[in-house]
Amino acid sequence: MARSMEKYLRPEVQTTPFCPGCGHGVLMGSLLRAIDQLGLDMKNTLFVSGIGCAAWIPSPNFAADTLHTLHGRAVAFATGAKAANPELKVIVISGDGDLASIGGNHLIHAARRNLELTVICANNMIYGMTGGQMAPTTPQGHLTATSVTGNPYRPFDLVKLVKGAGAPYVARGAVTRPYELIGYLKKAIASPEFAFVDVLSPCPTQYGRRNKLDSAGAMYERLRGLCQSEAQGACAPEGAEDTLQLGEFND
């Protein structure tokens, strides 16, 4: 991470907890840059995360109030914290398993209520922390610790899901395109309504290893290939299974 971002980190924190090549570190840096560019008052900002590798992005790293909660429940904790103190800027950042599987119900209800919350999903399409099991975002046919012959099910398109639930601001970024990503994060954080950013973030350790992407570099190459940038105004076309539209999806 750039030295200029160190002011946002707790002095006690020496290294990030992530594996070499993990996308979550890039997301962490992008989020801090977005915060820096917005001039956000960290004293009045609360970061809420669930359980998983992604949930470690703010906690214990960020020099701000952090609430590291239970697996899946980050959005529910954030809802109470925001309702009780509307002055707080509340940013939820957690994994795809956390936000979309065990916490999927909280996610769609928060989008429906449209309370001012920013929710960032660090989406590696796998359960990284627990050893690479299938997530609700794992592409069909892909290999995981609980789908050794290939995931038989279709994944959630989180952009469609959260947009369908009523979120006014929905975007998808990727850590391979950090400048666009920072732009989406800034808009989401600045929004006075519910805002959601799905961030594609590779997990070389658990996902790459199983899916013949032997190095972090190979994972990033694949992610670049998957991403189609700037879908102005529309979700990914039907049937475009192996392509993920990046951009903002707002009417």
Binding site: D65, F77, T79, A81, A84
Partner: protein, 381 residues
């Protein structure tokens, strides 16, 4: 001083209320500023009351999508500085359990009202039961402590809700009002006081929020947005909240302190009432709605010349086993009537020494009658 006398914000004087409404008024009187909940019989009237009254009084109300969301939002709100509560019944309590452990482990003051119905499972949803005694204490995994108070009247639905808030804030623990359907839906006269003793959380700036020197200490309770850079985590942590998931000493001392901070204060926390105990040979140990029937039975037995008394437990958790042991010394036997299959009976037995204990259980969805208690007492003679 965190304990202050305040003017009762709800209408004082003599009133006619349901138990659930009295609990809601007690919450408002205690300074509750956040309610998060999910509807469930027989507790829903509390939620409905809070949905009407909280926002006009400057608080926030959220109807959440389920009960674990409810308690999670309550924990979030509590760290945002609000006195916060939820109310539920059996199935909802079961859904809350993971987060109940989170609240205990992060020392978050929260109040939970459990208006017990006939379980297990969906059971008889509209009927009375008292089967959650163990679930509120042992339902989440690992070792932790809660406070649980058992009201026997609408008056106590009010006053013990206030007390639950005071204990939650003072001890930084989850505190339960462990009510029963019969009391929640009972309507009777209450006398609401003009002033109340209210405890507000102790906060000393820049003090460690998760530890202190004493083995039973209660740390300062800051909140979000106060410039404390709080690190709140459900993982084992040091006194500043940094995860310490390896060193055995961190876990050991934290788990022991969280228990000790409650258990070492039993003398201040635990309350009971005694009726005709001085010369009682047989002692009925009862709590909640059942204690009403027990008192009636005891009075009748006295009229018939039986040396019988009533020990009414107001605090269920922490369990006052020293009290049972003390009373056991002068007693020839205990009778424990309960609307479950003997949950408090086991606790009484383990503290009663050689004094015999008889359990009277009823799980048919109705309250235990004075006649059943009377009959059981006669059998014991």
């Amino acid at each position: 001083m965190p304990l202050t006398t305040v003017t009762n914000p709800v209408k004082a004087g003599s009133r006619y209320l349901s138990g659930n409404d009295a609990a809601a008024e007690g919450a408002i009187a205690a300074g509750c500023r956040y309610y998060g909940g999910y509807p469930i019989t027989p507790s829903s009237e509390i939620m409905e009351y809070m949905s009407r009254e909280l926002v006009p009084r400057g608080g926030a109300f959220m109807q959440m999508e389920d009960e674990i969301a409810s308690i999670s939002s309550v924990v979030g709100a509590s760290w945002s500085g609000a006195k916060a509560m939820t109310a539920t019944s059996g199935p909802g309590l079961s859904l809350m359990q993971e987060c109940l452990g989170y609240a205990a482990f992060t020392e978050t003051p929260v109040v939970l009202v459990d208006v017990q119905r006939a379980g297990p499972c969906t059971g008889q949803a509209t009927k009375v039961g008292a089967g959650d005694i163990m679930a509120v204490k042992w339902g989440s995994h690992g070792d932790y402590q809660v406070v649980a108070l058992s009201p026997w009247s609408v008056q106590e639905m009010f006053s013990l809700t206030v007390e639950a808030f005071n204990l939650a804030e003072r001890l930084r623990v989850p505190a339960f009002l462990l009510a029963e359907e019969a009391t929640g839906h009972l309507r009777e006269r209450v006398d609401l006081p003009e002033t109340l003793e209210i405890y507000d959380r102790d906060y000393v700036p820049k003090q460690p929020p998760f530890g202190c020197d004493q083995a039973d200490g209660i740390p300062s309770m800051p909140g979000f947005g106060m410039g404390e850079n709080l690190l709140v985590t459900g993982s084992t942590h040091d006194q500043w909240g940094f995860r310490k998931t390896e060193g055995p000493a961190f876990h050991d001392s934290l788990v022991r302190r969280l228990s000790q901070k409650v258990l070492s204060r039993k003398a201040e926390i635990c309350r009971h009432e005694g009726y005709y105990l001085d010369d009682a040979e047989l002692v009925v140990v009862a709590y909640g709605f059942t204690a009403r029937a027990a008192l009636r039975a005891v009075r009748q037995a006295r009229q018939e010349g039986l040396a019988v008394g009533l020990l009414r437990l107001i605090t269920i958790w922490p369990f006052d086993d020293e009290l049972i042991t003390r009373v056991a010394e002068g007693a020839k036997g205990f009778l424990v009537p309960e609307m479950n299959l003997g949950q408090v009976d086991g606790l009484v037995r383990s503290a009663a020494g050689d004094t015999p204990v008889k359990s009277l259980t009823q799980v048919n969805g109705s309250t235990i009658s004075p006649a059943s208690i009377m009959a059981a007492l006669k059998e014991m003679r």
